[in-house]
Symmetry: C2
Subunit: 419 residues, 2 copies
Amino acid sequence: MGLIRSWVEGANRADSPFPLNNLPCGVFSAGTDEPRCGVAIGDFVLDVAGLEEAGLLSLEGGPLLDVPFWNEVMEAGPAVWAALRARLTALLAEGAAERAAVEPFLHRQTDVTLHLPFLVSEYTDFYAGRHHAFNVGTMFRGPENALPPNWLHIPIGYNGRASSVVVSGTEIRRPWGQVKGPDETMPRFAPSARFDIELEMGAVVGQPSVHGQPVTVAEADQMIFGYVLLNDWSARDIQAWEYQPLGPFQAKATATTISPWIVMRAALEPFRCSTQPRQVPLLPHLAEPGPMLYDIALEVGLTPEGGEETIIARTNYAEMYYSAAQQLAHHTTSGCAMNVGDLLGSGTISGPVKESRGSLLELSWGGKEPIAIEGGTRTFIEDNDTLTLRGSCRGDGYTIGFGECAGKVIPALADPYAR
Amino acid sequence: MGLIRSWVEGANRADSPFPLNNLPCGVFSAGTDEPRCGVAIGDFVLDVAGLEEAGLLSLEGGPLLDVPFWNEVMEAGPAVWAALRARLTALLAEGAAERAAVEPFLHRQTDVTLHLPFLVSEYTDFYAGRHHAFNVGTMFRGPENALPPNWLHIPIGYNGRASSVVVSGTEIRRPWGQVKGPDETMPRFAPSARFDIELEMGAVVGQPSVHGQPVTVAEADQMIFGYVLLNDWSARDIQAWEYQPLGPFQAKATATTISPWIVMRAALEPFRCSTQPRQVPLLPHLAEPGPMLYDIALEVGLTPEGGEETIIARTNYAEMYYSAAQQLAHHTTSGCAMNVGDLLGSGTISGPVKESRGSLLELSWGGKEPIAIEGGTRTFIEDNDTLTLRGSCRGDGYTIGFGECAGKVIPALADPYAR
């Protein structure tokens, strides 16, 4: 499929992240107006809540867009998702009869503020990138024992904290936490000195599962509404001290940044690809019946305060060993109920070479090998650094983007208990 | 403080779990009516939603009880919690002038169905019982390395799954999961053969914290609305295979049962007690400024299908090494935002002797030492066993109870993917 041409300014540029093929879902506000649902198109945001109000967009079971989040549309199910895309495509396509009626609902992206696009119900983070798990395992246990014995058989994951999820652009305050170096006899309470990113994709669950009833990988794939970029900020020093025996907790609870736009699964269909070859066969309930990963080029930029950006990593979502569908299916094996608005982090997406590693922990090999950036070096994040994740799929004459997933790390509170 | 006498039948019995001193918060339905907020008193449930509707109960910012959950009352804050208790005490006390007006709002407990008392926002489970951690650590690593190095310095916890929380009486279906025995070369997908309970208390967070801002232990104590009994059902065989390196996941996601009644913190005040003596000093931000635990006698009963109940464990919440206030304060150290309706599981509450262990894993020492029950033995839970947690505080002439926290384990699905 090639570019679907639109009458909206900027939508037909080959490098626009928001052609008519994309139609990603976000929440925006213009001026002092309340946040409302919008869809990105070219250089604009289309006020779809306004379109619905005006009777230009009618969805079964609607109104579904009269709230500042996409959960009601997700809840409505795949037939409504398809109907929404079909109607918007008709309204925005080159030559559309309704152009004059729709134009007043466009806002320049430069004029709006973007908000969290959905209410996050629960947040789960996985550890399903083979290179990342191998790198981290090698640092902690050596290359022979790098992968835990279960790693090739199940997508290892842990429950994260939904209240930590923020939208791109939110400043991230460096956290305090309990840390203990290998040579220290007692732990200390201090600001994290090894604050890091994790380059991930997030899958947004759009349909629920029944408590007590596992779902197949094929069913799981159909439950996913769309994908976002996701940065799982991680305090490595806090993590190292706390994570045994029950896993990461406060190290991962400071913030998780997501891109402002959810790219619907339908927009990603042309970019489907398979997971990496299996090293050992999966048990049947976790095997993929078809390609369920996506070819999404990813990069991470680091910009010091007042300085130039350096791209510190380039990788691809196709590097994952497990797809979101496999993760979601595994998530329900125990009968765990999944709900609309659940967010699944893919796990850090590292590629096979050094420049493709999705965390500073790996890029600087535990802080031992500083990486070069414009005007300096880095092991971990320094105060006032801005970290920016970007992702895109290259189609025939068009691009699918997610918007930036960015956050500036501001200094820790001087005294976290001062009031 | 002694018994506060009430005109309601059954409320003045020394062994009633619901004297006027208690006033626990639940959600009930009578016949085909929709679920609504109620408070237990004697042998009855008082329809407080009805009282508010009728103008007999007026809360600042109200109506707060026109929804079938207690989150709006929690959100309203401690002054409203106190006003609610004061007004209900006045209405229900012996000699109350409004008795005739209130009586129509009483329903016999035997005539109602109880529902989940609040919307669970997020669920965190801790591992803060010294004896439990030592027992489990000994089984896995031997007595010398039983406690992980961080254990005496922070309340170890992990994020659980809020969607797994169900009210007492809900049947629990034995889960499937991936398991691998020590002598097996490959994992299998099978029903859990080592399904277990964890006897815990749950703290219900009634006030939020600000993202980016840790709270002190004293502040945390004041944020807690009340406590429930909590059974964190655990599939030990799934857990053993999955938990390295990121902690328990599907092993704990099948279900978490809570008691139908939230006992407000105010009702527990007379039973405050200190945590166990510190083996090493805590860092100042985690130290308790006063007693923040409660003297709550706990027991677990096991009843086979058609058989007699055996009490398999008796212990006390006072056995905890960390209080819920300490856990909540630790939970915010990274800046993690806590929300109204968050639920914190205490961790398994085991005492120092064998009969006081709060899980079958410990009671049967990993399945090696079956325990005797009426008409048989047990290592782990068998199909159609009902497990019942009970808790009570003994005051001067009165008792504070939570209602039973019970669940019957029904057989696993024959084929979890059959539709």
